[in-house]
């Protein structure tokens, strides 16, 4: 199974090669190659997922030795093998991820054939997203951090290429560079983390790491004075922070919306940014074992969720709203992992991928239709684009946490976990507080978006007039993704556990339980914490319903009924609004303070060192020494080599040549005469000798 | 198995009671008068008759019944002409040159297998001997043309020599498949191996005619034929004596008996070439599918030789007929076309055939198509 699973990643890779080399020459610029490839991946991934559904459990690995490294000695002495072994790991998480990613990617590929139709560099677009799909699927399939990291970087590259896809727009280029450089910070740290892992365990294989952590090996090793596990955990978390756009490295994701909308949907909502969370989930045992990292993760997630949600309120660009909501939701997932709500976190990853992809594609549909991203120029599109409206509305309900939709299930569980965490560890009240606040704000700004886009009167008559529903290739993906946004897919008809006892859907929970068992983090709750959890979940249900309802209500009276004037609130909260509008001045902080004040000065210092010390002393000094040596050697060369040896040789040769030239008459026969005389003499002596 | 060296030694044995030149003269005379001269003479008559038929004329019909003695009349006319050497020409070479041609083509008769029992000398390098002695023709044409002190002659001679030298390569390469198959250069043995009888057993070495040994030899036969045609300066390769350009080419200045020798040499060469095709590819003296020595009753050896001789002659004359037929069918080539055809057409094809035959020999363990069909081995 694991070997066949390799095909899943190989199909898009082959499609990439074909597209990159021959795409332009193929009919339709070869889009069908990419689409067929990703559908092929989907077809291969489906049986694995089906096996999970029927058996409740899948597990398979397949490994090859990539290279044999001499002398790698693990500090923890767990694995003294020096071979770098890479391979494929198929377990419950992988199966779900593979299915989700291939499904989303297939639908988005299909959507793209309509959305990108007629674009310049159409074939390259498909080449890039094929390569991206290969990277993402390879990452999911990896059974070790090394190939995981390689795929991770591959995705980063594709993200960079695709954000800058409209390379004629300066903003797109800047955004792509910003995204690449920002994630680089996290990636570097992540790589340090992998190096640390090799140092400690001598392996990066997930299963080996789980086993090692379970057996408690290397829990007291330190790296540079820090406990090794904490160091590694923190570095891995930084990788996530970069990739999943968490505070404080979240600044690149909104700008990444410069890319084509399908890219935003696929890479910057559904898959790549979720890869960071997936990393956290894969490394969860290590984070847990390090004790100190998980709370940090939880705080980072909570703060990110809240800050991003707040910014989303004031955004007027439909994609920016979705971008901030993505950051916010990612924050939820990270927070979920941080508070130990591992399963809900992963569940939110999957549900979010579906509804966020749907939202982005819907926004793409809208943008494609009205040719603007500014919500202030939209409005009243409900009748013009019924399918888009319906699907987007369903997805919005899901993200807002309305019962009966997928988002509610996962978010409610995360919030419940957060609440339980704070109740168990007294003092961490900020985490659930921020979580619930974010839930309310999310509902608010999502409905604000819906109202501004689809309801009310048309603010721009011209654009409204031209708006139209999109072709089937674009709407079918929307409908499928919207269908996946219902709670029944993951948990039950409503998503509320007490209600769903009547008609439970348990495959996801079972799968996650299996996965937790494999990773050695199966929960064995004590009776009192069981009680706390039960209590917390009940409370969380009430609270989340309440805040979601509140958010929707406020949004409705403000933007649907216009009972409250949004402008007056804006004026009322002047400084706060400005702060939010400027995204807490993060960009200015990074650019103005960190880079210009810090990094640039440091760079100048280095340049000065280079100029004054390296150039003056080393380079110029060497030059002076060389000059002295040169003059000595030059004299030697002139007198001894040139005069005596070279000229002398020439004179000798010329003299010899003069002597020999006397025989050089140019007459063949004379040469032969000489030859014959020599032969006669030789034969004469030969005759003498023979006698 | 008559070894070449033994042949030479046996010659010495014969020279016991006559001076060497006497035997040489007698044997040469015998060959020429018994075979070459009648053939050469008759060939001119036949050629004229065939030409007449093809052009819807009657042709020679005055001398003898249906003009059959025309060639004799021609010969008498030729012999009675003045022996003329052009002014400024080189008398010695002018006299010598026709002899080269006659010697070259007539010596080849020595190894032609007229029948199993009628072969001048079945030397073990027969094929090479055949190729070697016919090379004497080229210097003959070249020297004769030079000695004529005539520009047309010289151009014709140069053309003839370059043509012969060039086409010798495809010809030799077209013979090579046969050598590959039979594993011998001895013509008698090569012919012997082409026997095939439907009555009774066939020895494992015997396969049907080499032309039908495998597809490559089939094409090889045509290559040999075309190459031979060019070597004998026949139409469509008669550039050396192209009337419209060179008057009559290398033999422009020759008259009388010397011209007769040239003509004789040419016709003998055609016969030798046809006989070569017959012996190497068309089964020589074998009657197709019949071995007259294995009929169940013994025939006198003389009768066998007689029948085989006629079989050989029928085949050879059929090939000769094709040569004459082509003369009135095909237009003449240009010089560049001629050379291009040799180096760019025949030569690669000949190589292809050699390789193909080698491949066939390797794949089918030397069995011929006929043996495979008959299910031998």
């Amino acid at each position: 199974m694991a070997q066949q699973a390799l095909l899943i990643a190989l199909f898009p890779l082959v499609a990439f090669v074909i597209q990159a080399l021959f795409g332009k020459k193929l009919p339709r610029h070869g889009d069908f190659v990419s689409v067929l490839a990703i559908f092929g991946s989907f077809v291969v991934a489906t049986p694995i997922f089906m096996k999970l559904l029927t058996d409740g459990h899948v597990f398979d690995t397949f490994q090859v030795t990539w290279m044999a490294l001499p002398g790698v000695e693990a500090a923890g002495k767990l694995n003294s093998a020096v071979n770098v072994v890479v391979g494929v790991l198929i377990n419950n998480l992988t199966a779900i991820m593979l299915f989700m990613v291939t499904l989303c990617a297939s639908l988005i590929h299909l959507f793209s054939t309509g959305y990108m139709h007629g674009e310049e560099r159409y074939h390259l677009f498909f080449a890039y997203i094929s390569l991206f799909s290969a990277g993402m699927l390879g990452l999911v399939l990896s059974d070790n951090l090394l190939t995981f990291f390689m795929c991770w970087e591959l995705m980063g590259l594709c993200s960079y290429l695709l954000i800058g896809f409209y390379y004629k727009k300066p903003s797109a280029i800047n955004a792509s560079i910003k995204a690449f450089m920002t994630t680089r910070v996290g990636d570097t740290m992540f790589f340090l983390g992998i190096a640390g892992l090799y140092y400690v365990y001598g392996t990066s294989n997930f299963m080996a790491i789980y086993k090692a952590i379970e057996s408690g090996v290397a829990s007291n090793i330190t790296i540079a004075g820090f406990p090794a596990l904490a160091f590694i955990g923190f570095m891995v978390m930084m990788g996530t922070v970069g990739k999943s756009a968490q505070f404080p490295l979240h600044v690149w994701l909104p700008d990444a919306m410069e890319g084509p909308t399908p890219v935003s949907a696929l890479i910057h909502a559904a898959t790549m940014v979720a890869a960071g969370v997936f990393l956290l989930i894969r490394m969860f045992p290590l984070l847990e074992a390090s004790h100190v990292v998980l709370p940090v993760v939880a705080y980072v997630g909570a703060i990110t969720a809240f800050l991003a949600a707040c910014i989303a309120i004031v955004q007027v660009d439909i994609k920016k709203v979705l971008a901030y909501s993505t950051i916010s939701q990612l924050g939820y997932m990270v927070m979920g992992v941080g508070v130990g709500a591992f399963a809900p976190g992963f569940m939110h990853l999957v549900t979010h991928a579906c509804f966020k992809a749907c939202l982005f594609l819907c926004s793409g549909s809208v943008i494609h239709s009205v040719h603007t991203q500014d919500m202030r120029e939209m409005g009243g599109l409900k009748s013009k684009m019924p399918i888009t409206f319906a699907t987007m509305f369903i997805a919005t309900l899901a993200i807002s946490g309305v019962p009966g939709f997928s988002g509610f299930v996962s978010k409610d569980r995360i919030l419940g976990g957060a609440l339980a965490y704070s109740m168990e560890h007294h003092g961490h009240y900020l985490i659930p507080l921020l979580g619930f606040a974010t839930a309310g704000i999310t509902a608010f700004y999502m409905f604000r978006m819906i109202y501004m886009t689809f309801f009310g009167h048309a603010r721009d008559e011209h654009k409204h007039h031209h708006a139209h529903e999109q072709p089937l290739t674009m709407t079918i993906p929307l409908m499928i993704l919207a269908a996946l946004s219902f709670a029944i897919v993951f948990a039950g008809p409503t998503g509320i556990e007490s209600v769903d006892h009547i008609m439970p859907v348990k495959w996801f929970d079972h799968a996650l339980e299996g996965a937790q068992k494999e990773m050695g983090i199966a929960e064995h709750l004590s009776p009192e914490s069981e009680a706390i959890h039960h209590h917390a979940h009940g409370l969380a249900l009430m609270l989340s319903l309440a805040v979601a309802g509140l958010g929707i209500f406020i949004s409705s009276i403000t933007y649907l009924k216009h009972l409250i004037n949004a402008e007056s609130i804006k004026r009322m909260t002047g400084p706060l609004y400005t702060l939010l509008w400027n995204k807490y001045y993060f960009d200015e902080l990074y650019l103005g303070v960190l880079i210009q004040k810090g990094l640039l000065n440091f760079n100048r210092m280095l340049a000065m060192f280079d100029d004054k010390v390296v150039d003056r002393i080393f380079v110029d000094g060497w030059r002076d020494i060389t000059m002295v040596v040169k003059s000595v050697i030059g004299r030697f060369d002139d007198v001894v080599v040139d005069r005596v040896m070279v000229d002398g040789t020439a004179d000798v040769t010329a003299g010899g040549g003069w002597v020999l030239r006397q025989f050089q008459t140019g007459k063949v026969q004379q040469y032969l005469v000489l030859t014959m005389i020599v032969i006669i003499v030789a034969l004469f002596y030969a005759n003498l000798g023979l006698k | 198995m008559v070894q070449s060296a033994q042949f030479a030694h046996s010659l010495e044995g014969w020279f016991g009671f006559l001076p060497l030149w006497g035997w040489a003269a007698i044997s040469a005379g015998l060959v020429i008068y018994m075979l070459a001269l009648p053939f050469g003479g008759l060939a001119t008559y036949i050629e004229r008759k065939i030409a007449a038929d093809m052009q819807d004329r009657i042709g020679p019909n005055r001398v003898g019944p249906i003009g059959i003695f025309q060639f004799a009349a021609d010969a008498i006319k030729m012999l009675s002409k003045e022996d003329f050497v052009p002014k400024g020409g080189d008398r010695f070479l002018f006299n010598l040159a026709p002899l080269f041609v006659v010697v070259g083509s007539c010596t080849a008769f020595a190894v032609l297998p007229l029948s199993k029992y009628l072969i001048g000398a079945d030397v073990n390098i027969g094929v090479i001997f055949l190729l070697a002695v016919t090379t004497l023709i080229a210097p003959g044409l070249l020297l004769g043309s030079w000695a004529s002190e005539n520009k047309w002659s010289l151009l014709g001679g140069l053309r003839a020599a370059s043509q012969i030298v060039s086409y010798e390569i495809p010809v030799a390469l077209s013979i090579l498949p046969v050598v590959l198959i039979s594993g011998s250069l001895q013509i008698g043995q090569i012919v012997e191996q082409q026997g095939w009888t439907v009555f009774g057993e066939n020895p494992a070495t015997n396969h049907f005619w080499n032309a039908f040994h495998n597809p490559f030899t089939f094409f090889s036969m045509f290559l040999l034929f075309v190459g031979g045609l060019a070597e004998t300066n026949r139409i469509p390769f008669d550039l050396p004596e192209a009337e419209s350009e060179l008057v009559s080419g290398f033999n422009t200045e020759f008259s009388g008996m010397r011209f007769g020798l040239y003509a004789l040499g040419e016709f003998c060469d055609v016969f030798v070439m046809s006989a070569m095709v017959t012996a190497l590819y068309l089964g020589g003296w074998h009657i197709p599918f019949l071995d007259i020595e294995k009929l169940g009753f013994a025939l006198p050896t003389g009768l066998v030789a007689f029948i085989q001789f006629h079989m050989f002659m029928i085949k050879t004359l059929l090939v000769v007929f094709v040569v004459m037929w082509l003369r009135w069918t095909l237009p003449r080539l240009r010089v560049d076309q001629l050379m291009g055809m040799c180096w760019k057409g025949l030569l690669p094809l000949a190589f292809f055939n050699v390789l193909g035959t080698a491949l066939w020999m390797w794949v089918f363990k030397g069995q011929s198509l006929m043996q495979l069909l008959a299910g031998h081995g």
């Binding site: 030969a686 | 070449s4 020279f15 073990n124 390098i125 090379t135 030079w146």
Partner: protein
């Protein structure tokens, strides 16, 4: 004890003398042809049957024709003198005669160092066909020289074509 061989040797030497002394280069090359033929017969009696055939094909059919071509191309078309032998012939004659004599004497004395073959062995050697043996030797022990010579021939052919090409 063979008249034919004696005749061939006489032919060889006589025509070689003409090659050496005849002032007309065309005659010299015609008699060179006879020398080649005589040498071929000598080969035949030395048991080199294949070599004799090759000698005729290569020298008569190839080299002589080439030489005649060259003579005619340069001397007929461009009226170059045919008779161009030098006047000073004493020194070359002495020199070459000395070389011949010394060479023969040296070889003659070397012969004594090698054991002679019995008459039966000589007879058998002469009677044995050599073609198959030469072929096997060329593709066996002499494979490398054989391949080298094929490359040499190819190079010579290409070089000759290149040299003689029109401007």
């Amino acid at each position: 004890m063979n008249k034919v061989l004696l005749l061939a040797e006489i032919l060889t030497v006589a025509s070689a003398l003409i090659v050496g002394f005849h002032p007309n280069i065309l005659y010299a090359s015609v008699f060179l042809l006879f020398t080649f033929c005589g040498v071929a017969v000598m080969f035949l009696f030395a048991g080199a049957d294949f070599l004799a055939g090759a000698q005729v094909i290569i020298y008569v059919g190839g080299v002589t024709i080439l030489i005649l071509f060259a003579i005619m191309l340069t001397q007929w078309l461009y009226k170059i003198k045919l008779a161009d032998i030098r006047n000073k012939m004493v020194v070359p004659a002495l020199l070459s005669a000395a070389v011949g004599v010394f060479l023969y004497r040296a070889l003659h004395q070397m012969v004594a160092a090698l054991p002679p073959q019995t008459p039966e062995a000589l007879e058998k050697f002469t009677a044995t066909p050599k073609t198959a043996a030469i072929g096997q030797a060329l593709l066996g022990g002499y494979l490398f020289p054989f391949e080298a010579i094929t490359i040499l021939l190819l190079g010579a052919m290409v070089g000759a074509v290149w040299l003689a090409r029109p401007e």
